[in-house]
Amino acid sequence: MNIFLRELRTGRRSVLVWALVIAGLNVLIMAVYPSFAADAARLEELVAMYPEGFAKAFGLDRMSLADPLAFYATEGYFMVVLFGGIYAAILGASILAKEEDEKTIEYLLALPVTRNEVLTGKVLAVVANLALFNLIVAVVTCLSFVGFVTRDYSTATLLLLLAAPFLLHLTFAALCFFLSLFWTRRRAAYSISIGLVVGTYFLNVIALLTDDLRWLGWLSPFKYVDAADIISKQSLDGLYVFILLTAGAVAVGATYLLYGRRDITV
C-alpha cells in the first residue's frame, strides 16, 4: 500500500501532462471537424487524392471522413493509442527499473516487504495511472464531441473508441514491465519500450498495406484495437480483447516468477 501510494504521488505530474496534452489535441481536432464536415463532398475528393496506402492505413477505405467517429478515428484516435502507448510503455518499463538504476533497491528491499508486495504496489500504480490517463482523455474527448459535433453519431461506439486504448496501454505497460527485468538501466528501458511501441505500430501499418504480410498484424497489439474495425463492427472483438489481456497477464505473471528468484545487485 505504501509503495502504491508513493508511486501514485511520484507519477502524478507525468500522467497529468501526458493526458492533458493528448486530450487537448483531441479538442483541437474536434474543433476543426465542423468545417470539414460542412464540405463533405470536397473532403471525399481530397481523400481520393491520397495515396491508396495512406487511406488503407487509416481505414479510410472502409469509412468516410465526414462521419464524426471516422474523423476522430483518423485524426485523434491514432494519437491516443500511439502516444498513450508510448507513455504506458515508459511507465511500465521504468517503474521497477528505476529502483535499480537509482540504487534505491537495497533501501526498499531492506524494508519488511516481500518482493511480491513490491511488484503488486507497482503494478497497481501503473493500472491506476493508465486508468486516470484514459479517463481524462475520455472525458475531455466526450465533451468536445458534445461541443463541436452536430451530426449524429453512436455514443456507444464512441465509448468503445475511448475504452479500447486503455486495454492496449495495459498490454504495453505489462510487456515493458517484463522487458525491464532485462534492461535495468533506465535509459535503455526507455529506448526498448519506445522502440517496441513504434515498431509494432508500423508492423500493423505494413500488415494493413500488404496482403502478403497480413499475418504480421497478429504480432502487433495495435491490430486488436483498430478503429476502423471497432466502428464497422460497433463492438470490440472478444477474441482480440482476450489476446491483449492474456498477453499482458502472461507478461506480468512471468515478471513475478522471475523477480522472485532474481539476484539483485547494484
Binding site: N2, E102, K103, T104, Y107, P112, V113, D263
Partner: protein, 331 residues
C-alpha cells in the same frame, strides 16, 4: 506427578543472531563467497573484516536475500534467509555500503515513509536519531553530502529498534567526530541488547567497538578471534635504521618476518614494546618508526605464521570458530 522436563533456556542456548553453514555464492562463474560458516551470538558486536572484494558485501546481501545462495544455508534470528526473509527484515536494521534514497524527499519525509513499513511506531525514535546525528531535517536528500546521506542511512537502520543491526562499512565517509558519535550510538544500542554485525576493511576501527571479529579473504573465513586476544598479540610494524651496519640485526622472540637492507631493518613485532626498546638501547640509531600494520600485513601474518593461526582447511576454520565461541562461554 512427573512434569515433563523442558531444557531451561540458557543464554548460551539462545537462537544465534546469525548462523551461516557453508554459505557459498557465485555470480555465474565469478566468486562472491566460497565457504562461510559463522555464528554470531545475540548481544555481540561482531566485526567482519577483510579487503575489498573479499566477500563482505556478498555475505551481507545473501543474509538479506537480495541475492540467493549458490550452496549452503543461513539463519538470521532463527529465520531462514530465503523463505523467511520478510520476518528477518522486520527485525533487522541494515545500512547499505552504497545506496540511493528517494532523492526528491526531505529527510523528514523519508523517515516518515520508512516508518510506515514497520508494525511498531518508530517516528519518534527516528526524529531523535536525526537530532543526535545533526542532520538538517528539512533538506531534500539530493542536496545532502555523502557523509550526511550516510547518517540518514544510519537513522533508517536504527529507528525501528532492530534486534540485529547489519552495517556495511558504516564509517565510510564519516569524519572522525561523527564516527565517534556513531560508535556511541551503536554501543548504546548494544547495551539495550541489539546485536551488531558490521563489516569494515579497517582493523583499528573494528577493534574499538567489537567483541569478536572474523577475518575474511577471497571468500573464506581465515580466522574468528576475540578482540581482546587480537590486542594481546597486537603486531606492530617496526622500521629501524642503524648507524652501524654491523649492528643491524634484531634478535628478539617477538620479532617476526625480519627483513634486512644494509643499515635498515624492517620487521613485524608481536612482543612487548618495552623489550624492543631495551634491546635497542645500547645501539646508535639513525631513526625508528613504529606503526600499526595494515590489515593486509596482519592477514599475511596469520597466513604464514602457522601454529594456532595457520588453519588452511574448512574443518580447521570451523574449529577456530567453535574454539572462539566456547572460550567466550566459559567466562
Amino acid at each position: 506427578m512427573a512434569v515433563p522436563s523442558v531444557p531451561a533456556a540458557t543464554p548460551g542456548a539462545a537462537v544465534p543472531a546469525i548462523e551461516t553453514v557453508h554459505l557459498k555464492k557465485y555470480y555465474g562463474r565469478s566468486r562472491g563467497i566460497e565457504d562461510i560458516s559463522l555464528r554470531v551470538e545475540q548481544g555481540e558486536i561482531f566485526g567482519f573484516i577483510g579487503p575489498n572484494g573479499a566477500g563482505k558485501s556478498t555475505t551481507i546481501r545473501t543474509l538479506l536475500n537480495f541475492i540467493f545462495p549458490t550452496a549452503g544455508s543461513a539463519r538470521v534470528l532463527g529465520h531462514d534467509i530465503v523463505t523467511e526473509s520478510r520476518e528477518i527484515r522486520e527485525k533487522v536494521g541494515y545500512l547499505p555500503g552504497e545506496t540511493g534514497y528517494y532523492d526528491e524527499l526531505t529527510v523528514d519525509q523519508l523517515v516518515d515513509y520508512t516508518a510506515r513499513f514497520y508494525s511498531t511506531d518508530c517516528r519518534r525514535r527516528g526524529a531523535e536519531l536525526v537530532d543526535i546525528l545533526e542532520i538538517d531535517r528539512k533538506k531534500p536528500i539530493h542536496s545532502l553530502s555523502l557523509g550526511n546521506k550516510r547518517k540518514v542511512g544510519i537513522v533508517l537502520a536504527l529507528m525501528h529498534r532492530p534486534r540485529l543491526l547489519i552495517l556495511d562499512e558504516p564509517t565510510a565517509g564519516l569524519d572522525p567526530l561523527m564516527q565517534t558519535r556513531l560508535f556511541d550510538v551503536l554501543r548504546e544500542e548494544n547495551e539495550r541488547g541489539t546485536t551488531i554485525f558490521f563489516s569494515s576493511h579497517v582493523l583499528s576501527e573494528v577493534q574499538k567497538l567489537c567483541h569478536r571479529v572474523a577475518i575474511i579473504k577471497e571468500g573464506l573465513i581465515l580466522k574468528v578471534e576475540e578482540v581482546e586476544r587480537l590486542r594481546e598479540s597486537r603486531l606492530r610494524k617496526v622500521r629501524i635504521t642503524f648507524r652501524d651496519e654491523r649492528q643491524a640485526v634484531v634478535d628478539l622472540p617477538g620479532a617476526v618476518e625480519q627483513e634486512r637492507d644494509g643499515r635498515s631493518v624492517r620487521l613485524l613485532y608481536g612482543g612487548d614494546i618495552n623489550d624492543l626498546v631495551r634491546h635497542l638501547a645500547g645501539r646508535e640509531l639513525e631513526s625508528l618508526w613504529v606503526e600499526e600494520p595494515t590489515l593486509e600485513e596482519v592477514f599475511l601474518h596469520y597466513y604464514e605464521a602457522g601454529g594456532r593461526t595457520g588453519e588452511g582447511s574448512a574443518s580447521g576454520r570451523a574449529a577456530a570458530v567453535s574454539t572462539a565461541r566456547s572460550g567466550k562461554e566459559e567466562r
